[in-house]
Structures are given as C-alpha cells and as structure tokens.
C-alpha cells in the first residue's frame, strides 16, 4: 500500500465510524454533527481521488450549507438544548431500510466496476476544466435535465411555503 491508500483507509475509517454514530447517537443534534464528519470524509475522499473541484464543492454545499440547514431546522423546531436527549425509537424499520439500500447500492457499484477491473490509482486528474468540458460536452443533456428538475423543486418549495394573503 502506498501513502495514498493509507490516507484513504484512514479517512474511510473515520467517515464510517462517524456514519455509524449518526444513526446510533441518542441526541439528534449530535447525530447532525457526526454527519458533518461523514460528509467531510466523503469530500476528502474526492480530493484523494484527484477530483479537487468536486471535493471542495462537496464541502461547500454539504458541510457549509446542507448541514447548517439541518441544524437550523432542528434547533428551530424540536431539538432540546443542552444535554437532554431526543431519540426516535423506531430502530427495526430503519435497520431494514438501510440494509436494503446498502445491498442495492453495493450490487449496483459492483456490477458497474467489478473488483478485478478497479484501477489502483485515479486515471486522470479531475480538475475544474476537465469536469467542466465533460459536463457541457458529453453530459449536457443529463445536466440540463437535472437543472430543470431542481428548478421545478425550488419553485414547488416556494409555492408550498408561501401563504397567500387573506387565507
């Protein structure tokens, strides 16, 4: 194993432990904070693979915005402040769902990249220029479809959140 792989193993271990802690934590705010560690580990994994842009976007969007919205939502609504616990007891259903999702994703990834064919090192660096030309040349249609979907979701959220005058 080279230094790269040692780094990956370390980051993946930290990320996995934090991911387990997200679902086992008894306090919902602690769970959200463990999620920060997991998402940061995912970002660092992207960096280790040479995908600098994706890695930092992961940290800017997920750690810097999504988790903050989570914490914001939790603190505005139900999160007990201080040391009180807030725990949802329905663990069995959660376990079933997570096992099914893990099996599904695992088999999908293994079918796409069988173990023997996995390259040991990243084939090409994924700088912003490579990513940009890939997105806007090869994958422009899926990209536009996703943007359209997100725009629709955005407008839908505004419509749901907005209360008209007089009702």
């Amino acid at each position: 194993m080279n230094a790269h792989e040692y780094a990956f193993v370390a980051v993946a271990t930290i990320g996995s432990i934090a991911a387990v802690a997200v679902v086992t934590a008894r306090n919902v705010v602690h769970a959200a904070l463990y999620l920060v560690v997991t998402l940061a580990a995912v970002g660092i994994t992207f960096l280790l693979l040479g995908a600098e842009f994706v890695g930092w976007v992961q940290i800017l969007i997920y750690v810097g915005a999504i988790v903050i919205l989570f914490l914001f939502g939790l603190m505005l609504t139900k999160a007990p402040i201080g040391r009180d616990a807030l725990d949802y007891q329905n663990r069995a259903v959660g376990a079933v769902v997570s096992v099914v999702v893990a099996l599904g994703l695992g088999s999908l990834i293994l079918r796409a990249w069988p173990l023997a064919s996995t390259p040991a090192a990243p084939s090409a660096p994924g700088g912003s220029d490579v990513l940009g030309s890939a997105l806007f040349n090869t994958y422009v249609l899926p990209f536009e479809a996703v943007s359209f979907l997100l725009l629709a979701a955005l407008i839908g959220a505004i419509v749901l959140a907005r209360r008209d005058e007089g009702t």
Partner: protein
Amino acid sequence: MIGDSSVFDTLVGGYWIPLVMKAAAVLIVFLVVPLAVGYMEHKVLAHMQARLGPMEAGAFHGWAQLVADGVKFIQKEDVVPTAADPGVFSLAPAVVLIPYIVTLVAIPFGPRLYALDLDVGVFFVLAMSSVGVIGILMAGWASANKFSLIGALRAAAQLIAYELPLVLVAAAVVMQAGSMSLLQITEAQSRYWNIVYPWQLVGFVIFMMAAVAELTRPPFDMPIADSEIIFGAYTEYTGLKFAFFLLSEYGGIVVMSAVASVLYLGGYQPLPGLAIIPGFLWMFGKIFALSFVIIWLRATFPRLREDQLQRFAWVGLTPLALALILVTSVYKVGV
C-alpha cells in the same frame, strides 16, 4: 512567472522541510496579522470616537494591549455551564477558528510567495469560510441558554443568506479571469485591477457587504446584538475559549480582506509606477486598508433589524449579483 513553484520549494529541496516551513509561515501570519488588526480596531474606533484607546500596555501607544488581554484570558477560570453539553461546548471555538487558519494557505502574497496554489482556490476559500458557521451553531446550542440559541440561529440564517451573493460575485471574477486559482486571478490583473471595470466595482461593493455580514460585524451584527441577546452564541464563554472567538473574528477580517484584495484589487500587483515596492507589501497594505474600512463601518452605521437584514440579502444583493454574472458573461463573449 506562472508555473514557477513556491519560494518555499525552491529555497530548500525535499518534501517535508518546505511543508513544515509553509505551515510555520501560515501560522506566524495568522498569529501576527489578526493581532495587528485587533490593535488597529482599538485605536481606530477610539480616535473616531474622539478618545485615545489603550495607552498603557507596552511602551508605544499601548501596542501590547492585545498580548496583555491574551494573558488575562489565559488566567481566567474556564466555566462550563451545568446544563451545557460539555463536549460540543468545548469543541465549538476550535471549529470556528481552524477554518480561517486553513484558508490562509491558499492566499498568494507574491508571484512565488504562497503556500499552496490550488486549482480551485476561490472555491476552497469560500468553502472553508462557510464551515465556521457550524461552530457558531454548536456554541449557541451547547450553551443551553436561550439568548445563545437565538444568537446562533440568527448567525446561521444570516450566513446562509449572504453566502449566496458572496459566491455569485466571486464567480463573476472567476469568469473574467478564466481561472479559479487565486494566483492566476492575480496574474490576470497585472494590467488592470478588476475594480476598474464598472460591473466589478459593483461586485466589489457586494463582496465587501456580504463579507462583513459573514463576519457578523456591524452593521450586520444582529447575531451578537448586545442590547437584545447579551452576546449571542458567545454569552456563556469565558477565558481562553472566548479569546478563540475573538481571534477568529479578527482572523476572519484578515481572510476576507485578503480574498477581496486578490479578487478585486490585484492582490500583490503594484499601482503603475510603484513597482519598486515589493509585492508582499502591497498585499499587506491592501489587507490593512480593507480591514480599516471594515472597522470604519463599525464606527459609522447603526445595526440593521433582523428582517431588514434578510430582505437586503435576498431582494437586494442576490439578484444584483446574478445580473453581474450576466454582464460579465456578455463582456467575456463580446470582447
């Protein structure tokens, strides 16, 4: 000059020695410059309010005041409230402070005077500066104090609102320079600084306003409005942990001023005819000039109300920043 490696790499060979030197240089800059800005705040605010400010500590005009403050903070009792969540409470100051130290790694102080030339430097800086908010939320929540929680929520709402215009105007600069590397953006301004283009001047003003809001400095200091919520998320903190929050505020001023200098004021590029002054002095000069402006705002403007603050970001700055991207792209395609 572009493509040359950092001065740290050419000075000595090997991998580890330059790395340690870079880390030491970044740490020294982070420990010295924010203290200088803090001293400047004492003095500038004092003179703007027609008083002297600290005069006793140290020999000349109380220059050692912040060092003395630091010693005082170390001696204070470290109080953790009984109801607080001790782990999160103690971790929060570090989560606020460390991202600002890390951000300095990407700031170029000369054509070859930088620690790391990241391909996506702008993104790195903005990503890191948004991580600190988690620390403020942690501090506010873990304090188990209603004022702290309200302060933290205000901080989070404000940072989400002002992150958007900040990233959008930075994107306009990236489009104009054709690169996200802070070094390349600086080099692209060797002829004209970005600020001479009228739309980038607008972008500069938006950037500075959003940066002041991100730092929760006056007039955007609702999260620590002392007349309403004591001291916001930092209310329960004492001693060294409180000093960390103070240091990260000054560190944040330095980092935001440095980024604004690189994006709009040509970074280490000199004014025409003054190239005899070395680049790193220009960079430090610009950082201190912008820090002065941020301090000046504190002495000039009253605090905005919370709803005015949100409206200003969503209805004012964000659409303007979007229009700016449009104008920049028209310029890029047309010229």
